[in-house]
Every structure is written in C-alpha cells, then in structure tokens.
C-alpha cells in the first residue's frame, strides 16, 4: 500500500474529506490531517486509552481503527463532546480537579461519557472495570473514579 485514497468521515457532526493511506489509524487522521489534537497518542497498541473517541456513541480506540474501516459511522472526539465543555463528565472532571499533566484525560473522559450513557448508575466496580483500560502516569486514578461517581450523580 503505497498510495493514498480519499475518504469522507463524519466527525463531530460534520463531513470531512481527507486524502490519506487507507491503513492510517483514525487517530492520526484526527490529530494531524484534521488538526483535532485533543485526541492523544499514547501507545498505538490498545494499551493506554489516550486515543479513545466515540464511534457510533461507543468508546473505541482510534489508534486501532484504520480509516478505511470507519465508513459513514459518526465519530465524536473530545472537541465535540459538548459545545461549551459542560458535559456532566467534563464538569465533574473540573470539580474533582482530575487532570494533572492532562495528557491521558481526553481518552478517559470519552470512556467515562460512553460508560455513563450505557450504564447511568455504575457501581465502583463497574467504573474500575471500565476505567482500568486507561493508563495515567500521573496517577489520577482515584480522582477519575470520584469524578465518574460525581458525574453519575449529575455533576
């Protein structure tokens, strides 16, 4: 595969046409082609969760999703989670002062938002089972759990 192809993606409600290699992970199309840099690269190997976005409303590793497999499924990135950073998860994240370096947080927030959509009243075990898919080298883990609990209570 040495040649690029054209693909049209539905991102944060808008159609975007890009010319990239078909095996390009969605992550890099978002970050570098479309300059939506809120979604982060951490491992490229489904290990850290920094790259999590929503595809059809579900949490997905954008580093594991080649652009050729996205099709017309709608994608939401951290930039599109809410128009004004007032999603209950974002509010809870600020209230609990979760981010430290902040690098892992877009992915964590997207995972938490997807979790709460599926399961609005998660137990602590539910939260840990889901959020432990994410690595945070700053160790914000306990605040993440507290923030998801707060968001579940309404922010």
């Amino acid at each position: 595969m040495t040649q690029m192809v054209t693909a049209t993606l539905l991102i944060n409600g808008a159609a975007q046409t890009v010319r990239v290699h078909p095996d390009t992970p969605l992550l890099w199309v978002l970050r570098e082609t479309l300059k939506l840099t809120g979604t982060k690269y951490g491992c490229g190997a489904a290990q850290c969760g920094s790259c999590v976005v929503h595809i059809e409303g579900r949490a997905a590793y954008s580093c594991q999703t080649p652009v050729s497999e996205v099709g017309n499924r709608p994608i939401t990135t951290i930039e599109g989670l809410s128009p004004d950073s007032t999603h209950p998860v974002q509010r809870a994240w600020i209230a609990e002062q979760v981010p430290q370096c902040g690098y892992c947080q877009s992915g964590q927030i997207m995972r938490a938002a997807a979790l709460l959509k599926q399961n609005p009243r998660p137990t602590r075990e539910d939260i840990i089972a889901e959020m432990q898919l994410h690595l945070c080298r700053c160790g914000s883990y306990r605040r993440v759990v507290a923030a998801v609990e707060r968001a579940a209570r309404g922010g």
Binding site: S85, P99, G102, Y141, R142
Partner: protein
Amino acid sequence: MHKRADAEHHPSRRAVLGGGCFTLAFLLTPGRQLRVMSARAQPTTLSANTWVSIYADGTIEIMCPTSEMGQGIFTSLPLILAEEMDADWSRVRVVQAPVSPAFANPVHFKSQGVGGSRSLRGYWMPMRLAGAHARTVLLANAATRWQVPRAELTTEPSRVIHAASGRSISYGEIAAFASLPADLPAPTEADLKPQSRWRLIGRDVPRVEVPSKVNGAATFGIDVQRPDMLYASILRAPVATCPHPLYTQAVVIGPTRIDDRAALAIEGVTQVVALDHGVAVLGTDYWATVKGKQALKVEWQTGAKSERYDSLTALDEFSAIARDPSRKGVARGNTGDVAAAFETAARTLSGEFSSEHVYHAAMEPMNATASVRDGEVDLWSPTQGQTWARDTVVKTLGVAPDKVRVHTTFLGGGFGIKTEQLTTAEAVLLSRAAGKPVKVIWSREDDIRNGAYRPAAAHRLEAALDAAGRITGWKHRLVADSVLLRARTAQLDQFKGFDVVVMSGAVTTYAIPNKHHEFIHQDRGIPLGYWSANGAGLTNFAIESFLDEIAGALGKDPVALRLELLGEPRGKRVVEAVAAMAQWDRKREGTALGIAYSDGGEWNCKCAQVAEVSVDRRSGVVKVHKIFAAVDPGIAVQPDHLAQQIETGILFGLGAALRERITIEDGRVQQANFGAYDLTRSRDVPEIEIKIVDTGHRGMSGAGQPGVPPVAPAVANAIAALTGARMRRTPMLPERVQAAMKR
C-alpha cells in the same frame, strides 16, 4: 472563574488590548535580592524580561518561568507573585515565559527547567519580592496622583484604597498612567505580607489550566502545528545509546548503509535524511513517515560499549563488587571512625539489595517541532529544560543564542525524561535539512527503547551494634552506572566522581555516630537519566529495608527504632503521625504493616509511609491495600496540589516496587510497548491517605518527588512482617516473592 491559561507566548497581545499597560521586569538572583531591570508604561513590544504586565482593563499577566507537566506549577508560582502584589486572582492570566536569564531558577543550575523539586524552592522568595515590589510601585503611583502619603494607602485585591478620604482606584486604572518612581528602594523581606494576611497561599485554588484539559484545548508539544510543516519518523540503532547532545563524549551509533527506495516510493514521504545517530523519514503526512520508517533497510555501526550489556547479569556483577572489600569507590558524607566502630562492635549485620532499571513512561512520548529559517530558530518543545534546549540548538546548529526562541508547551508528563534533548537536536537538524518546519514524533516503541533509564543498582549495607543494641557504625556501598556522566559531567567532576544523583538519599541523616557512604561507578555505556526522586528511590529501599532487618535482629519495634535514630523533630513528627494514622500497634487479620521514612534530602520534604499489604501465598502476588503517608513540606502553597503530587509519587514508586522493569540484553531493550512494561492501573491502586503535618517548619520544599522513595521499602517491610520473607530486589515480582517465602 474566568481565567485564561496560555502555554504559548503572545507578544501581539498588547496591540490587541490597547488602552495602556504597565510592565515590570526583574532579575532573580540567588539569595534574597532582586534587581528591577525595567518598568515602563505602554510598551510597544514585549520585553524579554517582563514578569508582570498590568493592563488598563484590569487584566494582569504573570509569567510562569518554568514548565507545567502536571505538578500545578502554572498555578502555584504565579499565585505567589499575585499574593504579594494583592492581585485579583480572577483577573490573572498566566503566560509561559520565554528563555531569558530573567526567568532562570537561582537554585537550578541558574537555568530554566524543572527538576529536583526545585521550582518552589528557587522561585519562592524572588517571586514574593517581585510581587511586593509591584504592589509598592502601584501604591506609589496612587499616592502621587492623590497627593497623600503612601503609608496611608492599603490594598484590596487589584485596588488601592485610601480609607481616610474614602477613595479607591483599580490597578488597571493606575496602569494607564503609571511610571516607575525614581527613588524606590529595592524590595526587602520587610515588604512582604505576613502569613496571616495571605489570601491565596495555603488555600486551594483551582488550577488555571485544568479547564483546557477537559476539552482538548490544551496544547502539548505533540499537538503543535505549523504552516507547511513536515513530519519525521526516525529509525535509530538497535542498541540503547540515547546520545545526549550536550555530552561531548556521547557514543553515537549511526547507519553504515541505507536502502531507502521502498520508503521513498510511499506517497507522502518527501525525503530520507541520514543523521549521525539514525535515519529520518520526512513527509507531509505523519502515517506516511511511519510506513516509510518500516520500509527502510539500514545497517548500523557496531562497537557501542552498551552492546555487551545484559542488565540482570550486570546486577549480579554489581552485587559481587559491592561485597568485595578490595573494590573501592568514592566516599562522601562520612563521619566518625567507621573502622573502629566495626572493630569494637558486639555484633555486625549486613544486607544486600538491588533494583532493576525502570522507565519514565510519560504518556506523551518524546517529540519536538522546529523551524529553522534564515539563521533564526523556533523550537516548540514539551521540555523540562528550556535553557538546555536552547543550548542544544546553539551547539547543534552553531547559531548564536539570541537567534533561538524556545516555546515551551504543556508537557504530557515529565518525571525527568523531558530534560533530555535528543528530540531538540533531531528537530532542528531536520528542519534545516528540509527547509521547512518539522515535527519529530517518537513512537511509544522509540520512547521505550531510547530512554534514559533509572540506573540498575546493587547495594551492600553493614551495621555495627554495641552491646546495648545501639547502632554505632554504618556502611553503605552502592554499585551502579552514572547518571551525571552523561547529562552533567561537570557536576560529576565537582564531586570527584561521587554521583550525587545516583547517591541521592544515601548519606543518611539518622543519628549514627560513624557512617560511610560509597559510590562505585561501573561505566557500562547504558543511557541513564533523571527519574522521579532519582537515587533516593534506590537508596531508600536499601536503607529502610535494612533498618527493619536490624530492628528484627534487635527485637525492636520498627517505628521505635526510627524514632530513636531521628535526631531532628520534623522527621520524628512525621513518623509519629503516620504510625498514628495507620494505628501501627493494631494487629490485622491477613494483612500486615510496614513503615519507611525518607528525610527528603535536598528537596527537604519529610515523608513517612506505612503500607498495608497481603500476599497470595500460592502465586506470590502482593496486594497493597492501603498507603498512609505523612509529609512535612514546610509551607504548603497549595495543599490540594501537594497531596496530589504525593499521591503521584506513591503510585510512581509503587509501580517500580512491584511490577515495572526494563531489561536489556546485548544492549537491546527487551520491552517494546505497554504490553510488556506493566504500569499501575486503576485496579492496582490502593486506598491512599495523606496527611500534611505542620511541624512549624517555614521553609519551602518540593512536592514532586518525596512521595516516591518510602513506598518500596514500606511494602517490602510489610511483606516481611507478614511472611518473614525479605525482599531484596525490585521489582518485587510474584516469582521473587514466592522464592523469598521458600527460603
């Protein structure tokens, strides 16, 4: 709160705001003086030294001189200046400072950079004085305008008040006409607010940049975009060398033969550039450069010293050297007559400990973006060392320092690795070669395999005990490769070969009359670097584990033994506090407690921790249920940040204690990604209880590292208390715990 935080410098902002502005520039000097370099109203261009700018609309811009990497410095340093100038914090805008001597940290090699928990220690007094001086200037201007004595004026946040006449004026209004009074004396400590009048220091203030970290807006180095920018992916030699661009004797292993035909056939790849230490694939599309890198065929030079290095074999060799009295190293901080203490001892004990390499694993991998054009250089970097970054550009390209602009972005974690400058050299070389801006991104695999790791270290400790069971003599020999040799050779020479980074915490402050601390350097060519808490994470594991063994041999309680050995009250208080928090004397069912204490060495933050653990006896898996930590940092500028930093340190230390390790065979790092490098995750996180103990100490310390050292020994001591098995090596992997229980 409407607070704006910018990790980028915006010289154009003045033009946008208009309506007047008053700026103050200072030079921070070691000690307690501060030189006002300039002060002016309505400048047309931003002075490179401006610390604080007051705009007519009431906005106050305060520089953050160093890097925000998660430690909250973007809030806590400007807040100190704001406190003393009595600024309305809701109108403060924090701006990332450029590289300039005006922003250098007096206690950090006189440079800008974050490390060694030095930011608060270095900037605390100068920034307070700067703030106080800014306030004095504002008062003086109001006094002149109103024709009243300055002594009759007071301030409320961002306002000057004349109570006698009921008048008040905002800082913004003053800025519109302010000038620097000619007769103003230099600020002194007498100008500072008493602690009772602090409005910001010691109260928890939300971090200024947090809102930008929940919506993707915060700009990290890897996010930088420049018009017409190219990307670079770089293939480096398979043997770990990570050459440091500022180290003149760096071993550089480069390509001998490059076949780049397949790479160049990939659409989006524009160029392949041979570097001294690697081969770079440049392109207009990042993924194209990744594919191009995979398509390269490269043969490499051989002969790196590190190519014979096997990390586990080396650790056994280091242990044998530590044990062999004929092998001599460099001693420092010795006291008394150690030989006599051992000759006259009623009894002697010894213990051996070791630690494997660990890696930083900052979630943002190394990266840098550079634009080299017409002899002018712009570098955007998530760097912990902006002055070193500039020096690297100067050395790499041979340009003058004033041609280099370093733009510090937010850092997606630092922990020491982002003092490294290889990406700086790569980005500027490639931008020059391409004639365009270039962003260099290291893949996670690049980042793991080209790290500058924490040293692998082996220790032998010996204690001499008298007939009364007192410790009269202490010997600690540590064998490891050097961190300073590669990063700061001059500092290694300054201490005559005693690597103060590796030996951090080795010179124990316990009240033992005769002490010997020795570093035996084994130069194996492996790239080593600063890693959170540095050697203190190694030495504290050895010292505090050995102390528990001594307590066991003497039949003493581990807490009591430490209290006996602690000469100074701060350490005593934190040990007592943590023992009380953990209910040290209460027996547990199925779990046990272990304690460890770190005096915080240079960063001067006392920290004692108790770990409560259980062990699955079949698998050897250790479960840490809870960590109790008591800390005395002196003044806690932001108590919530402080607790957060201690927690970060605890989890950092816990990973290295239990599961993280880098293994190297034939000079090749065996781990490639997080699948093989086992970081702590949510499910592994214990309960954590942190108490800030006010012992009356009013000094400053750093919070980034003190949480790290006591974790590993506290866990090891708890395992020993529960099972009788003494863990002598980190990480304490399940198979090692099993083996120790069988002994």
